[in-house]
Amino acid sequence: MIINECHKDLLAELASIGAGNAATALSQMLQDQVITLQVPEVKIAPLQDIPASLGDPEQEVAAVLLEASGDGVSLTVVLVLSLQAAVQLITRLLPEDCDPLGEMGSSLLMELGNILVSSYLGALSTMTGFTLRLTPPSLGLDMAGALLGSVIAEKMMLEDNFILIKNTMHAFNEDIEGNLLLLPETGSLEKIYRQMGVC
């Protein structure tokens, strides 16, 4: 579909509300640390650009994948953190002698993905009235390009565009970048816009 300025504004609004929800949820998860999230940056780009959209496609990243569906809308959502950012976050939450990329660290990463994605989808549900169910998260640790390419292939995505929401979170006196990729299935984005009476 063709995405115009009006559609972009709506996505930006959705991302802002989602980020607000996410900050609250993360503060609770991260032991009442004060977490702030900057107003996220929203980009819309062709699928082919996904593998390089987060910088070097060979960079090792942690990707948490979830699928949301309900009321005729289906989306694949992927949270992508650089390996460094993932380790930075997780080491704060794990006992000292625990491998941040071990089993416990992996579970924590998936939970983090779950919370962030639920926060964003909560915003989408509030704005549209659609009820979306989330699948349990899956985790991949590998080259950004390989992970994201696999997502497009596994989901047999033929939609031309994806939505990238760049988040910067401030926690533990550090800025941590996280990216959310939204891949709507054919027709889903149109359905969302129609429901909201936009353009």
């Binding site: 593998p51 090792e60 985790l139 080259m143 390989a146 992970l147 390419g149």
Partner: protein, 171 residues
């Protein structure tokens, strides 16, 4: 040395001195074809297995490089434009892994992609000289046109490893 980056669902070829690179093959499959006599190298980064399962080839914006069945003939055509001969071609393939713990019905897309690539190469009588595929990790392919060698690298927990195939390219 000239370097061409081949993106996802894309293909490229070059002759003589240069390198073709495709970064981050997960379930996607990289197909490297080489004409050792004419030093023509071609590389495709294939996303999906069989175009007929997804789209009509007559559809608007049809991208043959996206699918295994259509990418290989398109790659050969591009290489022939640079002086390659079909009967000289040999292949190296890599990728087709499965990185997430998705729940599938039957084989994952990586395995499906590999099956169609192998079948298509077989139909075209192009021998597969090396295959570095499957598993649960991503790969980067670097393909050197002057030697026909392919370097495959992986990353895991901050460590990068690479192997080169074939060790003695058949000329």
């Amino acid at each position: 040395m000239k370097t061409i980056y081949v993106r996802i669902a894309d293909l490229a070829a070059l002759q003589g001195d240069g390198v073709l690179v495709t970064v981050g093959l997960g379930s996607c499959v990289g197909v490297a074809l080489y004409d050792p006599k004419n030093k023509v190298a071609g590389l495709a980064h294939i996303l999906l297995d069989n175009s007929e399962r997804y789209i009509k080839p007559s559809a608007n914006h049809f991208n043959p490089a996206k699918f295994a069945d259509t990418a290989i003939p398109a790659l050969i055509k591009t290489m022939e434009g640079l002086g390659a001969r079909r009967r000289n071609l040999v292949a190296h393939i890599a990728g087709g892994s499965s990185l997430f713990n998705f729940k599938f019905d039957g084989a994952g897309i990586g395995q499906k992609n590999l099956a169609v690539v192998r079948a298509r190469l077989d139909e075209l009588s192009i021998p597969i000289q090396s295959e570095n595929s499957g598993g649960n990790y991503g790969r980067t392919m670097k393909f050197y046109a002057s030697t026909g060698k392919v370097e495959i690298s992986t990353v895991s927990k901050g460590e990068k490893k690479s192997v080169t195939v074939p060790t003695n390219p058949a000329l």
